[in-house]
C-alpha cells in the first residue's frame, strides 16, 4: 500500500463528498419565513399549523420514499397511529401532557412501523404498494370497529390536552401555542432527518434505492436497513399525527385514510422527493393551489391539481425543486 498522497483529499470530488452535509446559504430561508409568518399573519395561524404538520408528515415520507425508495400508499397508518395514541390517552384521562404524549405517539407509531415493516419489506414494487395500503385499511377498520375506545366513525373530540410546560394553553381558536410548538417539533425532526440522510447510513439507503442487488453484493444487510429506516419514518409520522390531534383537540378516521396518504404523496411528488426541502415546497404549493383552485372552480377544483400532477409526472419527475435545480444548472453553465 502506498502512502496516501496529500493531493487525494483535495480532489474536487473528494471535497464535494466531504462538504456535502454542510449547511447551504439558502437553507435558513424556510425557517425565517415560518417565524415571519407567525408575526405577519396572526389570524391565519390555524392554516399555518396545518401546513407545518403536513410538511413534517411529508418529510417522514421523503425519508423512505425519496431516500430508501420504498413506495408506499399507506403512510397515513403511522400518522393515524400517532393521532389515536394522543387522542385515546387524552380522552380516557390517562395522559394529557403534550410533549411526553408526542413521545408516546412516536413510540406507538414506531412499533406499528417495525411490526408491519418486518413483514412488508420482504416484498417490493406493486406488492409492497398494495400491502402498505392494506395495512392502513386494516388499522382504519380497527379504529372504526373499536367504538368504545376510538369513538368509531365519529372519532374523539374535545380532547383535554394539558397546557404546554403547564403554562401555554392549546386554544383551537387562537392557535399561537400550537404554531410555535409544531414549528419547534418540525425543526427538531428535520434536523434529525437531515443528519440521517447525509450519514453513511443515509448513503446506504440511497444505494438501496439506486440498486438493491448491488447493495447485497457489497455486504449490506439490506432488509435490516430498510426496516430501521421505515421504523424511524413511522415514528416521525406518528409525531406529526400526534401534534395534529393535540392542535385540533380531536381525532377521527380521516387521520388513517387513503385521502391523507395520497395527499402527502402528491405533495412530495409536487415538491420533489429525495431532496428534504421538497416537502416544504410541495406542501406550500399544494395548499396555495387548492386554495385558489377551489375559489376559481369550487365544484371540480381537483381537476386542476390532477392536470398539474400529470404535467409534473410527464415532464418534471423531480418536482418543483427539480425544475429549480435544472434551471440553476443551465444558468450556471453560461
Amino acid at each position: 500500500m502506498t502512502a496516501p498522497s496529500p493531493g487525494r483529499a483535495a480532489h474536487p470530488a473528494a471535497l464535494a463528498l466531504a462538504r456535502r452535509h454542510r449547511l447551504r446559504a439558502w437553507e435558513p430561508i424556510p425557517w425565517v419565513l415560518a417565524v415571519a409568518f407567525y408575526f405577519a399573519f396572526p389570524r391565519h395561524l390555524g392554516f399555518g399549523t396545518e401546513l407545518l404538520i403536513t410538511v413534517l408528515f411529508a418529510i417522514s415520507l421523503d425519508l423512505i420514499l425519496g431516500y430508501a425508495g420504498i413506495v408506499t400508499l399507506g403512510h397515513a397508518a403511522f400518522f393515524g397511529a400517532g393521532a389515536y395514541t394522543v387522542g385515546m390517552l387524552a380522552k380516557h384521562g390517562i395522559w394529557t401532557e403534550p410533549i411526553t404524549g408526542l413521545i408516546l405517539a412516536a413510540l406507538i407509531a414506531a412499533a406499528v412501523g417495525l411490526g408491519s415493516g418486518l413483514v412488508l419489506l420482504r416484498t417490493r414494487g406493486l406488492t409492497l404498494l398494495m400491502l402498505t395500503l392494506c395495512t392502513m385499511a386494516l388499522l382504519e377498520e380497527a379504529a372504526n370497529l373499536g367504538h368504545a375506545y376510538t369513538g368509531g366513525f365519529d372519532g374523539l373530540d374535545s380532547l383535554p390536552i394539558a397546557p404546554l410546560f403547564g403554562v401555554f394553553d392549546f386554544n383551537p381558536l387562537y392557535p399561537r401555542t400550537q404554531y410555535l410548538y409544531v414549528l419547534a417539533a418540525l425543526f427538531l425532526c428535520f434536523a434529525f432527518v437531515r443528519t440521517l440522510v447525509y450519514s453513511p447510513f443515509g448513503q446506504s439507503l440511497t444505494g438501496i434505492r439506486e440498486n438493491m442487488l448491488r447493495m447485497h453484493a457489497v455486504g449490506a444487510p439490506v432488509r435490516t436497513r430498510l426496516v430501521v429506516c421505515y421504523t424511524i419514518s413511522a415514528a416521525i409520522a406518528g409525531v406529526a399525527g400526534g401534534i395534529w390531534a393535540q392542535a385540533n383537540a380531536y381525532v377521527n378516521l380521516g387521520t388513517l385514510g387513503l385521502d391523507r396518504a395520497a395527499t402527502v404523496l402528491i405533495i412530495l411528488v409536487l415538491g420533489g422527493h429525495g431532496r428534504l426541502y421538497g416537502a416544504f415546497i410541495g406542501a406550500v404549493a399544494y395548499m396555495v393551489l387548492s386554495h385558489f383552485l377551489s375559489k376559481i372552480y369550487p365544484t371540480a377544483w381537483q381537476l386542476g391539481l390532477g392536470l398539474l400532477l400529470v404535467v409534473i409526472a410527464l415532464f418534471a419527475r423531480n418536482g418543483i425543486l427539480g425544475i429549480g435545480e435544472a434551471a440553476s444548472r443551465v444558468l450556471g453553465r453560461r
Binding site: T2, P4, R8, A9, H11, P12, A13, A14, A16, L17, A18, R19, R20, H21, T195, L196, Y198, S199, P200, F201, G202, Q203, S204, T206, G207, E210, N211, L213, R214, M215, H216, A217, V218, G219, A220, P221, V222
Partner: protein
C-alpha cells in the same frame, strides 16, 4: 492435502427441469489465478451465484477455508471475504463514481450503520476510495455520475467496488466484456496487481485474457465440469477444442458450439 480457500462438493442447482449446475466439485486455492470458461448457457454465472449465495443450491455444499457456508446469506459471505463483479454492470447509476466506491468501502469498514456522523467526515473511507480510483486510473472521473461514463469505464468502477471490499476470494464475471481494447490493459494490470494471497476466479470468453492470466482453467459444459487443468493441458485437450475453442487455443471463441451435441460427461 491442505484446505483450499474455496471449495464446492457435489454442488447442484436445478431450475425446474433444467440442471444448471450438476455435481460440481471445484477448488480454488489461496493465491490462485483460476479461469472458468465454457459456452454460453454452460452455467458459469449460475455457479458464481451459488458461490456468492445469490441463490441456494439444490444440493451439495460450499466451503470457505474449510467452513461450510452453504447456508450463509450473500451479505454475510461478502463480510467473510467473497466479492464479485457482475457480467452486466450493477452500479448506482445516478451517483458519482466516488460515491459508488465509497458506499462499498463504508460497508466494509463498518461505517455504514452510523447515523449521526456525516459520511464526508469519514476521511478514511474517502481517502481509500480515492486511492482505489487512482489505481484504476479513474481519478479524473471521480466526480462524474456513472450514467455519464462510457461502458468500459463503468466496468472499471465495477472492479473498483469489488476491490473496495478487500476480498480474499474475487469472482470476476467477464470483467473485460464491453471494454475497448485500448482500455482493457487497465483491467488486466489491476488484476495482476492484486495482492498475491487473494484467490481469483475469472470467467471470460476472451481467450487472450484467459490464457494470459490463468494458471488453472476449468471448462464447464451443460452445468458440469467438463475438463480442468493448466492452460497447456486445456489448450491441447481435443475434447475442449471440439466443444469450445474452435480449433486453436488462442483464436478466441468465434462460434458458440451447439451444446446439445456435447456429452454431459467426457
Amino acid at each position: 492435502m491442505n484446505t483450499p480457500l474455496l471449495e464446492t462438493r457435489g454442488l447442484c442447482r436445478n431450475f425446474g427441469a433444467l440442471a444448471a449446475a450438476r455435481h460440481i466439485d471445484f477448488r480454488l486455492e489461496a493465491g490462485a489465478r483460476h479461469a472458468l470458461i465454457g459456452p454460453n448457457g454452460a452455467g458459469k454465472t449460475t455457479f458464481v451465484n451459488l458461490l456468492t449465495g445469490v441463490i441456494p443450491p439444490t444440493s451439495g455444499e460450499v466451503r470457505l477455508k474449510g467452513r461450510d457456508i452453504t447456508g450463509v446469506v450473500q451479505a454475510e459471505r461478502v463480510k467473510l471475504g467473497i466479492a464479485r463483479t457482475f457480467q452486466i454492470n450493477r452500479l448506482f447509476r445516478r451517483l458519482s463514481v466516488l460515491d459508488n466506491v465509497a458506499i462499498a468501502v463504508a460497508e466494509r469498514v463498518g461505517a455504514a450503520p452510523s447515523m449521526f456522523r456525516p459520511a464526508g467526515r469519514r476521511r478514511d473511507v474517502v481517502e481509500e476510495s480515492m486511492h482505489l480510483l487512482e489505481t484504476l486510473k479513474l481519478t479524473n472521473d471521480a466526480g462524474h455520475r456513472i450514467a455519464e461514463l462510457p461502458y468500459g469505464r463503468q466496468r472499471l468502477v465495477e472492479l473498483a467496488i469489488a476491490l473496495g471490499l478487500k476480498p480474499e476470494v474475487l469472482l470476476l464475471d467477464e470483467p473485460a466484456a464491453g471494454v475497448p481494447s485500448a482500455e482493457s490493459h487497465i483491467i488486466l494490470d489491476a488484476i495482476e496487481g492484486l495482492p498475491r494471497h487473494i484467490g481469483v476466479l475469472i470467467i471470460d470468453h476472451d481467450m487472450d485474457l484467459v490464457f494470459r492470466f490463468a494458471q488453472q482453467i476449468t471448462v464447464m459444459v451443460n452445468g458440469a465440469v467438463f475438463a480442468s487443468g493448466s492452460p497447456r493441458e486445456i489448450g491441447a485437450n481435443p475434447d475442449v477444442r471440439a466443444v469450445y475453442l474452435g480449433g486453436g487455443p488462442r483464436t478466441g471463441p468465434p462460434h458458440p458450439p451447439d451444446v446439445r451435441r456435447v456429452p454431459a460427461e467426457p
